[in-house]
Symmetry: D2
Subunit: 158 residues, 4 copies
């Protein structure tokens, strides 16, 4: 996915969410994590390969921690988008405040194939958004679409 | 734990392992991950808080991804130490090559409490080292010893 | 899915696998787990609700342990089918012996919605079949197709 | 552990909890799961080997699903004991009603060694009891104390 898609969200919400996610959550910036698509049921992001992200120096392989960190961030973003869609009655800024209340309960990552490539695409889909807990599934793909890692995570929402 | 402990490993093995882990695995350097202790059954590491590692800007809270990335790295190191102890008959350099063959199969992290503090201590303990798979449990603690996160991971060894 | 599908596998392999899975693995029989479909990339099974499987007596809800046990069993079966397809050169009986060497490394189950219904459908899909480790994703659905639980698991194969 | 320990809980609470856990949660009865100890921070249980629990017929090995099911049940019991201790001001019966509101969010089990033996001991320890979510770690041991499996789980409490 190369074009950006932001469903029915207002420009203010999108701009605010991108600013928080890509800039103010400093470690996401270290990861170079960018939002490509944002919809009530799922989100897509991208990471470009950079030397700082290497885990396996002999193969220029992405560090597994970059994958777990980025999948966790994307899953949180997916929950945020789902919450944003559920509360369209609230002002964009008010909805953005919900991000601060989001907390990861736990995370699982399965490493299927070595993460080698120029860039990587990440997707996260909310399997269930409850009043207190959200469950999300994530995928981490290579620049040719190969599935490199999958993830599952639970979030506390309020 | 503040003093370094390196069991019976030779200086060459320790020096080589620290060089690989703290310097050549570039993303570990981004995390600022340092080895404090290394024994056949477990390892201890430390991360000092830095602005780049922030996940929650309003609370200067550590990014969950730093925790998952660092726990994965520490668990891999624990497996490496266990393998190193099992193959003391090999030359240090030969044993270090095993690091390149290590692969994370999957990882789980439970986030118990907000990671806020000046520094953090990480421990990883090998629960079982098989001929093909190793299972590890990890803990992430605050500068006062509070348990902030726990983890479990499986590694392919050969 | 209600009709049975068994891809290109020989009758002897199918009959043998069903006998092992549904009868000789005694606890699968306790669960009432039946194989509906078996292909190299995935499998489908079914469980009919019975009083012995109740976890929550006030709601006649299926015990979470029935879900984790059945998803683990189905994931192992999916790996077995993938191995069976990879070794079609071997005699059916020879391929069936591989079942005995299969071992679960670890399992994760996410409980999304209460499991209430007359029967349940389970699917397992092999995400990657390596020479030593296989990774599988599973789904547990209600009699109307609602997604009730999801799972991820890793298996040692040899 | 062979003697029963029930901390400061009233006989009514213990009797009621054992009746719910060992009898009314029917699938726990199928597992033959018995409570040995119950304290605010952790619980211990026991399962005696029976033919119905076999997963691997050639080795009379316990089915992995018995382990995941029993560890999930024990973890829920540990949360129940922690909740019971937090609400000693409530009547025993009132506290027991909290059991019905408990829900497993997700579960991880690591299978370390084959589960073969006459009986098995299970322990579950609450790592954190929040107002909405509880995190638990579990262990599954053989009749000689060997660690056979470990688990981690999250529960919704209210």
């Amino acid at each position: 996915m190369t074009t950006e898609t932001f469903a029915e969200f207002e420009p203010d919400f999108i701009t605010g969410l991108k600013a928080i996610f890509e800039e103010r959550i400093v470690f996401n910036k270290v990861l170079g994590l960018k939002i490509l698509a944002l919809t009530p049921t799922g989100v897509t992001g991208r990471i470009d390969m950079r030397p700082e992200l290497i885990g396996h120096y002999t193969h220029n392989r992405l560090h597994g921690g970059v994958i777990s960190a980025a999948l966790d961030a994307m899953a949180g973003l997916a929950v945020m988008a789902a919450l944003g869609a559920r509360h369209m009655d609230e002002e964009p800024l008010q909805r953005l405040h919900r991000f601060g209340k989001l907390g990861t309960i736990d995370l699982r990552v399965d490493y299927l194939r070595p993460a080698i490539g120029q860039h990587f695409l990440l997707t996260a889909e909310v399997m269930r958004l409850g009043s207190r807990v959200a469950s999300v599934r994530m995928e981490f793909r290579g620049d040719k679409g190969a599935l490199l890692s999958t993830g599952s995570a639970a979030y506390i929402v309020s």
